[in-house]
Amino acid sequence: MWLWFSKLGSPKWFYELSEKWLPWLIGAMAICLTVAVVWALLYLPPDYQQGYTSRILVVHVAVAGTSLAFFPLMAVAGVITLVWKMKLADMVAKNAAPLGAWFSFITLATGSIWGSVSWGTWWEWTDSRLVSMLFQFFLFLGVISLRSALENSETAAKACALLSIVGCINVVVIKYSVEWWNTLHQPASPVSLNGDSPNGPEFWIATGIMILAVYLFFTVSLILSTRNEILVRERRSQWVQDIVAKKTGAGVRQTV
């Protein structure tokens, strides 16, 4: 168990494993994304109230749901960094923050574009769901600027871990906001494939595939940026220098 754990924390191990996984993840992402988008844009029947704007919700629900995974992920990575000083966990946490900000922004933008038709308003300050999601967006910006403001990387990792734990509280608020305060944003419709939900089974299957696609995209993007981080932070180690030499043809001296 401990051997496995310390292996998992090794940047080299992660770099080599992700190299093998990436083609499969990218392939699965491309397939899910294509199926979900084609289905949503060509086949999904119009909603009896929303017309074709219900197609917006396929994207909105998938991106919004995934955006809630970031703070728990960053908090877990933060605890691992604080307790076991695992370098890899901090690299993941660092690169998750900007991506999380993107996810929150796209959630707000797509929701706003949908609301402008269905609610007749782009924004409503009194709605708890909207405001707590906006707060999440600012929390991501906070984590990013906190890290860049603190020079000492260990202090930065600690501070970001603490802020990420606070962010998890906000995730709970976002999740239950529609039930605690009933203002503008509707609660999630019951998921059902038997046609006894306001949305037909077609909608849920399309959304399900889209959620899978967005999660795969999130994984791929995070792996790519974490690999970059490894190349920078481990640049003095022999194995990274070997990769650089192999990829660019520099430093062939060792073999001669």
């Binding site: 017309g51 791929v220 030499a245």
Partner: protein
């Protein structure tokens, strides 16, 4: 479950039942979001490799001149 394509003509598809702006703005934004967050790390990887290979070469030449 999939009965048929909802539209009978391409212009009808573009029109999205009168919500062309909203539907296409969201899907456009979604694609920019996905493309940006996949292309940016790939470009960054290229620049990192380039920069580090430059350093390696520098290091190499300084080692040679000392020996």
């Amino acid at each position: 479950m999939i009965s048929a394509i909802e539209f009978s003509s391409f212009s009808e598809f573009l029109n999205m039942g009168g919500y062309a702006f909203n539907v296409w703005a969201v899907y456009g934004l979604f694609f920019v979001f996905i493309a940006a967050n996949l292309v940016a790390p790939v470009l960054k990887r290229k620049s990192i490799l380039k920069e580090q290979s430059r350093r390696l070469r520098q290091h190499e030449s300084s080692v040679k001149s000392h020996s």
